[in-house]
Point group: C2
Chain length 364, copies 2
């Protein structure tokens, strides 16, 4: 599988939903497989909040491949022998695309909290410009989970003729207060972190020790990605060391898991990007800009495949079913599948065996 | 209704489950109604993590009555014309009973992090001594929700002949990792709060401004007390001010709710007590000290009424049903009712209309 990583620079202004303008801006992206001459074998994969454009394959020296390596590659559900796959780091993220810690042109200092709020609508508009710059004006499919699924659906609504097919997993039509509340833990924990210093931390302040605020907020994130039953299976009431049961900070296995994962995460992800991407999730609402959700959904022309996960506690399957019901009423071409899983929201990343047949069939 | 508030001092050592000893210790408690001559009209009410012994009635100058005022009083489900009701502030709390910020006798300085871990077993043993000191050696009933329900069940298992009836709401047989993870957010947020200063904050440091760590952790608490559907009803996607949608820290109503409630809470509750009581919830396991959960449950002789709430996301109804199933198999006298509610865990505090008939009937 041929992998290429690029960063594209745009000097034309990007008019944001907020009324603000981003100019210039950059987008990092990765491609897999080969673009055919007709440029009609393109599949866009959209990543989730903490994801990056590194979806598949191994970088030199890495032990872990990209985040959806099980789905994308030679002979896999998204077959790179046949398709040219592209994933673009979203605006606001911290993996190469323009975000809050990028320099605010023409100054040589970062935007920090002066960075404009980015919405899912903004993210996909920028991605569309990038694709145009590559001469790609039509996609075979757009695929994504969670925030990636929001992008896929927003593409389908805003640009109905742009893609033949949409595959959206573990996502919703509009973020509910339950999920906004989970994000609130992280946003407050980051904002109140002394080292965050109202956004004025040194650029790599978090790399060595990880910022406490992001680590704390990330615990709430991990809760929302798992489910009560998956935690039973994974951790039970096991104790890290039995003699610690009566120590105040003695740890259950689930506590050790949270510490380990969140401390590591806080060393690799920029807290400012986390704030902006959480905000993008919060503001996501397919209905915005249209008369109603119904009107928004009615615009969709792509064959749409919706995949929900039974135990998802962040974006509940019934939210995707709600979209399916509307499309059904309108006779729009779609499928909805609820996958049995106790993995919670994370299922779209880890239970690939259970849903890859849907992607494979949809693309065949 | 006659209300009295007292603090009792005990000089005999309390042998804790951890092997450590608390000596001396104090317990604050409140009583409602009158103790009859036979001392056989006593109902013990047990409070939840952030509750206190002030269950019912109004203090002079207060606008809000005790936390279960709808249940306890003249003519109410727990009728104080008939019963003598007592509620005891649990060990480790911050409303008068001995806790981590109490002076470590004989010094005049607080225990702080040297305070021993307190378990539900410890809490109820201390309460039993207090009742004995009042000449009360048998109870008509023990009633409680959440951590209060844990105490009620632990009483039933550890002291099978002590109470005629047990009414436990919105609780469990052992805390699951899902709930431990929610507590982990608060415990880490408190522990990493610069002002917490490894437990060496001034005694009333939190009163003026509230400690950030507890406020942040409390957001996770509130999430676990509500449910996705109740948040939809309560907040929807409403915005506090519409022009803030594109401001990074512009707030949804659910965010304002979280800020308001958690900042207030952090000014009234001691963060150290929160740590110890969260630990007590985490270590709760009816099976501990017995061969198995089955053996523990089998010891129960009291007529046991279990009330679970459909939308409870902290202690799921199926956990209470699990107890009921065991009692059913053993032919132990019990009832289990699942109350339809979208209020989540908080339902035991706010949906009194829906379950008070069960308490009334059980006590009649």
């Amino acid at each position: 599988m041929q992998i290429e990583t690029h960063t594209a620079k745009f000097t034309a202004p990007l008019y944001l939903e907020s009324g603000r303008i981003l100019e210039p801006y950059e987008l990092s992206y990765e491609t897999y497989g080969e673009l055919n001459e007709a440029k009609d074998n393109v599949i866009l994969v959209c990543h989730a909040l903490t994801g990056s454009h590194h979806v598949a394959g191994l970088y030199d020296g890495d032990r872990k491949p990209g985040w959806w390596d099980g789905v994308i590659g030679t002979g896999k559900a998204i077959d790179t022998n046949e398709h040219f796959v592209i994933c673009i780091n979203v605006l606001g993220s911290c993996f190469g695309s323009t975000g809050p810690m990028s320099d605010a042109y023409p100054s040589l200092t970062p935007f920090r909290l002066r960075f404009p709020v980015i919405t899912v609508k903004d993210m996909i508009r920028a991605q569309k410009y990038l694709l145009s710059s590559l001469g790609i004006h039509h996609l075979k499919a757009i695929v994504g989970g969670s925030l990636g699924g929001m992008q896929a659906l927003q593409f389908a609504v805003d640009y109905p003729n742009f893609a033949d097919k949409i595959i959206a997993l573990a996502t919703t039509y509009a973020t509910r207060p339950w999920t906004i509340a989970f994000n609130k833990v992280a946003m407050e924990a980051i904002r109140r972190d002394v080292r965050f210093d109202n956004g004025n931390y040194a650029k790599d302040e978090f790399v060595d020790n990880g910022m406490d605020g992001l680590a704390i907020g990330r615990i709430a994130g991990h809760i929302s990605y798992l489910s009560p039953d998956s935690m039973d299976d994974k951790f039970g009431r096991n104790y890290v060391s039995t003699d610690g049961l009566f120590e105040l900070f003695g740890r259950y296995e689930v506590e050790r898991y949270m510490e380990y994962n969140t401390n590591n995460f806080a060393r690799t992800f920029d807290p400012m990007s986390y704030l902006y991407l959480a905000k993008a999730v919060n503001t996501f609402n397919l209905a915005r800009g249209y008369d109603s959700l119904y009107d928004a959904i009615l615009r969709i022309k792509a064959e749409t495949h919706l995949i929900g996960f039974e135990g998802d506690n962040l974006f509940f399957p019934k939210e995707m079913e709600h979209i399916a019901n509307m499309m059904n009423r309108n006779g729009q071409s779609h499928s909805y599948t609820e996958i049995e899983s106790s993995y919670g929201h994370d299922a779209f990343l880890v239970e690939i065996d259970k849903f890859e047949y849907i992607i494979r069939k949809a693309l065949s």
